[in-house]
């Protein structure tokens, strides 16, 4: 959470658009590593508490925009 002034919920999403892991309520400015735990292709970062408030959990399906640009690297 280096350079990040507010706590986040970080949703790791695999190429099948399934949430594989959620790092909840991260600590601002912390240098703690936050691994995805499983292969991940996308990350959705939302305000801390979002996952709990909305009942979002690992295994939930995401629907990303169909025209999401592909990474170039």
């Amino acid at each position: 959470m280096r350079n990040t002034p507010l706590p986040l919920d970080i949703l790791f999403i695999n190429s099948e658009q399934t949430i594989v892991h959620i790092a909840e309520r991260t600590t601002p400015f912390s240098l703690e590593l936050l691994p995805s735990g499983e292969p991940a292709q996308f990350v959705l970062e939302v305000n801390a508490g979002f996952s709990q408030d909305h009942g979002v959990a690992s295994g939930d399906q995401m629907e990303l925009p169909a025209d999401l640009p592909l990474p170039t690297h």
Binding site: P5, L34, A40, L44, M62, E63, L64
Partner: protein, 225 residues
């Protein structure tokens, strides 16, 4: 505004003893590139001239290049009493190389416009085989996101769409949740085969202050467990 300024020029010309007809015949504007602007990729050198013989352009005192004249420009009807006044040259700015350049325009050999500009090329004359896209948040209006994608044919980024950008989460219990997001992209970096949040560039932090962001990882080299 351009037309208004031109009227002023015409008025000054009349005060100096010219006639409206003569002024209109001489009226000409180089609209693009603008002085001091930065050019890259393939674009247009363009403007309008009420009446013209053979229009040519010379880049950096180079050989003359013929510019077609006569495309319709309805907005010049009042000043030119004609509409087929436009001129344009499709031009690869990259050919000039990086740095400052100028172009001078001639009508039958008589100079009527000159402008200096900068060129930033992308590794040579024509970049091939690359893909890239990015978003411009809160443009053109707050809450709207403009998606720009690399367009090889024009050697530049082109607007793909303008709209609210969102993802939808389908919880196993409850109704779908739609989340407005900003889009960020980062090179896939690995540490023990796992994506580490700490490795994201600091610029993405800007997105967090808005509350939400999507970060794209590397599709060709997905993170391996």
């Amino acid at each position: 505004m351009r037309i208004r300024m031109l009227y002023l020029k015409v008025w000054i010309f009349m005060l100096l003893g010219g006639s409206v007809g003569q002024a209109a015949l001489q009226a000409a504007v180089l609209e693009h590139p603008q002085p001091g602007s930065v050019q890259s990729g393939i674009g247009m050198l363009s403007g309008w001239k009420c009446e013209a013989g053979t229009i040519t352009a010379s880049f950096d005192d180079g050989p003359p290049i013929l510019i077609p004249h006569g495309s319709p420009r309805e907005d010049t009807r009042e000043i030119c009493l004609a509409v087929h006044t436009g001129y344009a040259l499709l031009w690869n700015w990259n050919l000039l190389g990086d740095g400052e350049h100028y172009v001078e325009l001639f009508d039958d050999g008589v100079a009527f416009a000159q402008v200096s500009f900068q060129v930033v090329s992308l590794h040579g004359e024509f970049l091939t085989g690359r893909r890239a896209a990015t978003t411009v948040p809160n443009f053109p209006a707050p809450g709207e996101t403009t998606l720009l994608a690399w367009q090889e044919s024009s050697q530049g980024f082109a607007v793909q769409h303008v709209r609210p950008f969102h993802v939808t989460i389908h919880p196993q219990v409850g109704t779908p949740i739609q989340v407005s997001v900003e889009l960020a992209e980062t090179p896939a970096k690995r540490q023990r085969g796992l994506m580490q949040r700490e490795e994201l560039p600091a610029r993405h932090v800007v997105s967090f202050s808005a509350g939400r962001a999507v970060v794209l990882l590397d599709e060709k080299h997905p993170i391996a467990a």
